[in-house]
Every structure is written in structure tokens, then in C-alpha cells.
Amino acid sequence: MLELKNIYFFRDNKQILNNISLKIDNSKLIAITGPNGSGKSTIAKIIMGILKPDSGCILFNGQDITNISITQRAKLGIGFAFQQPVKFKGLTVKDLIELSSGNTINLGEACNYLSDVGLCAKDYLNRELSSSLSGGELKRIEIAMLAAKKSKLTIFDEPEAGIDLWSFNSLINIFEKMHKQIKNSSIVIISHQEKILNIADEIILLSDGEVKAMGKKENVLPLLLNSTSKPCKVMVEKGGNK
């Protein structure tokens, strides 16, 4: 579905991504993990087209998308739930769920997306996506928007951050539901959370802008958990908000 080939990204005298190559197949749930500042969000932004790599190329279902716009990528079927959700004065939760789904949706549908993220639709649909909502609420609405967008490939950037009051199981249910409902779709989750890494088919471990390990959960997870001599930063920094 998606392939990154030799991606380099250099800013402020720092090699932020250093020759990243990776492949994401259809119908997979992939976790990207690694310490804060290792380049996880940068990879997500490069896939969405928000940042342009200095070199390397990006293929989506065989098409070279390296030089196409964010809008075109979104239309091809790439979606991205931001680590820091964006606020909009004036636009309501309902507006954004409608914009995400690409058409007007009925109340029932909107309610389903919201109740899946643990929010009561009637309390939220007409609220502005502004600072009047808490960080955790904004985060959940961001997830609901991406569920409504129904992309072939959706990247969630630390979806669990700031939503501690809401059970992980609900979050995992959403990923599984999307997986089932959107044919051949894949999901990439950037996360520090062991519980989320546990449901992944494959894990990509990033450090200092490089892929340190990549493969089946069974093979990568032990690398993270068994590094007892030097406690794995990944696990220590869970919930980190970089």
C-alpha cells in the first residue's frame, strides 16, 4: 500500500530522518514507536505531504506521490490524526465530522462516530472546536474525524495521549472497526503504549531518525521489553507529549 524509499529530512543542522525506508502492506495494523524526538511525527507529516523530504520517494499503491499536494493525497485515501489537534473558532464538531466524511451526514451517523470515542453526541455536536474543549476532548474528536473520513491508510499520532479517563479498549475497538469496515485498509499508530503495540501486526522502532528494528510484533516487542540493563526509553516515556 505505502512505501517510503530512502527518505532524508534535514532541518536546523540536524538530520531528523536519516535514510528511512519502509513498507506498509494492505490490511495491516502497524505501530511506530521510539523515543521522543526520534522522528515519528516527521514521518507521518511526510506521508501526508505536510513536509517535503529532501530526498527519497513515497509510493502509494504503486503511484509516486512524493510531489503531490496534501489535498490530492487525502483524496487518494491517506488520512492523518494529528498529535496536536487543530482548533477552529466557529467550526463545530458536526461541521468537522461532515467535512471529514466528505458529505452531509445524518444525526445518527454523527452520533455513532462520537459515541465510539466516548463522547455523548448531543452534548458535543454543536460545540465549537475551540479552546472551550479540553485537550482530551479535542483528541477524541480528532479520532472520530478520521474514523468518519474512512481512509485506505490512516495514521494516528499518539492517539492515546491525554485520554487517560477513557479506556484503551474503546480506542482499540475503533481501530478494529475501521479495519473491518474499510476494505483492505491499513492503520499506522504512533504510540508508546505497550497495550497498543500488543495489538499491532508489525512494529517499527525508530531512534535518532533511523529505523532500528522493523518486523512482526513477536520479533520486535521482546527487543523493547527485554532491554533491562538500560531501561527502554520507549516504555519510560509512555504518554510523552513531544
Partner: protein, 309 residues
């Protein structure tokens, strides 16, 4: 009755008062300086002034669920229409008042309307006041609106004021003055959009005189093209009171915006706050909407429409 208005008149009325035909309840429709239709009800009287152009709107105590429409339309140019409208709202009345001015100017001369609206709210009265301003027409003549709103709020009364001017007015100076008594509330929401070489200035002078009086001013504006906007607010807390002013402007192209929110506390228990923000559309907002599949132009349009909603 539907055929009373021609297409130009209907379109103006639709834009400023959401009406295309004769409204329900009390109304007075003014066109090019003359009243062209009026209706009163058992509770709401409308009387022409003797000494100057304009009307007195007298609303009886305890009038509930009634509305007054007083739209003004201008379809001729070379014309400066000044009108004084005084509203006397009786005790515990609860009504909706819809005003507004639409100008259709196909000429090269100026068309101007200056409406001076004074509200006297008696004890416990509640008014929702909606005012829309709209200009159109192919002429090069300016379309000018200089409205003044003067508000006297007696004990426990509430005025909720919504003003919208989002299209076609060349120049406007809008002034709102408030005198607030005990336990009274003034809630103002303002929406302005200017483009091309338009100019809009809005001034709020509010005196919080009564104990526990409160005012909230929320102004949102978009300045496009080469337009200029000025926002001035002066809130005086003369008693134990609460005042909050929020002005938010999106600036585009080569537009200019000046914002001067001023709060003055003349009493130790005056609680006054203001927030002012001017900026272009946040890049991350555009990026977010583009990542949902909108083009940059569509994203911009959504952000502006939402902001001015």
C-alpha cells in the same frame, strides 16, 4: 401580498431580515426615506415621529413571543436617509426585534442610511435585537451605513444584540452606547467582513452603572483585499459589575486592522477583561482541512464561513 415587492426589494429584504414577503406581527418597512408598509398589534404600537424622521415603537408590559420587523431598503442613490427609531419596551416583555438595512445601488452617486436606534428597556424586559447590513448593485456609487445604537437597561433587563455586516458596504461607522442599570445584561455579538477598498469602524461605549450589571462584547471580523477595519471599545465599570470584550480578526491580502479594547475600572469590585487577536488564517487550520481532502481555497472558505457564523 407576496407581489407587493419587486425582485430587488425581495432580495434586499431576504438578506437583511430573512423575509421575502410581509412579516408576521408588527412591522414597518421603509424604502427610500418613506414608510411603505406598517402593521401594529394589540401589544405593539408603531407611531411616526412628529419632529424628525423615524418612529416610536411602543411595546406593552408583559408582551411575550412577539416580534417587530423594521427593515430599511434603499434602491435610489444621491440620497442620505437619516432616521430615528426609539423602542420603549415595557416591564417583563420578551420580544424579538429585527432591523437592518439593505442598499441596492446601481448608480454612481452615494446611497447612505444612518439609523439611530434607541432602546429603553423597563424592569425585567428581555429583547433579542438582530441587525443585518447588506449592500449590492453594479454602480460605482458608495454604499454607506452609519448606525448608532443607544441602549438604556433598567433593573434586571437583558438586551441581546446580534449585528452582521458581511457584504457590500463601502463604508460604515457603527457606534453602540450602553447605560446599564442594576442586574442588567447586555450581550453583543458582531460579525463584519470587508473587502476591496471598504472601511468599517465599530465603537462600543458601555457604562456599567448598576450593581451586578454585565456586558459581553464578542466581535469577529474578516478583512480582505485592501480594506481597513477599526475596533474600539470603552468599557467603564462604575459599580460591582462584570465586563468582557473579545475581538478577533482574520486579516488577508493587504488589509489593515486596528484594535483598541479599553477597560476602565472605577470601582474595586468591577471585574473587567478583554482579549484581542488579529492574525492571518492559521496555517495548521488550512493543513488540517486539506488533509481531509479540501483544496486550499475551499479550506479558506470553510474557515471564514465558520468564523463569521
Amino acid at each position: 401580498m407576496d407581489d407587493k415587492f419587486n425582485l430587488i426589494e425581495k432580495n434586499l429584504l431576504k438578506n437583511i431580515a430573512d423575509i421575502e414577503k410581509i412579516p408576521m406581527g408588527a412591522y414597518n418597512i421603509r424604502e427610500n426615506g418613506k414608510s411603505i408598509g406598517r402593521n401594529t398589534t394589540a401589544n405593539i404600537d408603531i407611531v411616526s415621529k412628529k419632529d424628525k424622521p423615524g418612529i416610536d415603537i411602543i411595546i406593552k408590559s408583559n408582551t411575550k413571543n412577539e416580534s417587530v420587523h423594521i427593515p430599511v431598503i434603499l434602491t435610489k442613490a444621491g440620497f442620505n436617509d437619516i432616521v430615528y427609531n426609539d423602542f420603549y419596551v415595557g416591564e417583563n416583555a420578551d420580544v424579538v426585534i429585527v432591523a437592518g438595512c439593505g442598499i441596492h445601488n446601481n448608480y454612481c452617486e452615494t446611497a447612505e442610511h444612518d439609523g439611530i436606534h434607541t432602546f429603553h428597556l423597563s424592569k425585567g424586559a428581555k429583547v433579542k435585537y438582530i441587525e443585518k447590513h447588506y449592500g449590492e448593485g453594479n454602480g460605482s456609487g458608495d454604499k454607506i451605513l452609519n448606525p448608532q445604537t443607544i441602549v438604556y437597561l433598567d433593573n434586571g433587563s437583558t438586551l441581546e444584540m446580534e449585528t452582521v455586516q458581511i457584504n457590500g458596504i463601502s463604508s460604515t461607522i457603527r457606534e453602540t452606547k450602553g447605560n446599564l442599570g442594576i442586574n442588567s445584561n447586555l450581550l453583543i455579538s458582531e460579525r463584519i467582513m470587508t473587502s476591496e477598498n471598504q472601511f468599517a469602524k465599530t465603537i462600543f461605549n458601555i457604562d456599567l452603572n448598576g450593581e451586578n450589571s454585565s456586558v459581553s462584547v464578542a466581535s469577529r471580523s474578516v478583512a480582505k483585499g485592501n480594506s481597513k477595519q477599526e475596533f474600539i471599545s470603552n468599557i467603564n465599570g462604575n459599580n460591582k459589575c462584570f465586563g468582557h470584550v473579545e475581538c478577533d480578526a482574520i486579516i488577508m491580502d493587504t488589509a489593515k486592522v486596528v484594535s483598541t479594547p479599553k477597560v476602565t475600572a472605577n470601582n474595586i469590585n468591577a471585574n473587567l477583561t478583554h482579549e484581542a487577536a488579529i492574525g492571518k488564517i492559521a496555517g495548521e487550520q488550512l493543513i488540517k482541512l486539506m488533509s481531509l481532502g479540501l483544496s486550499e481555497k475551499e479550506a479558506e472558505q470553510q474557515i471564514i464561513n465558520g468564523f463569521l457564523k
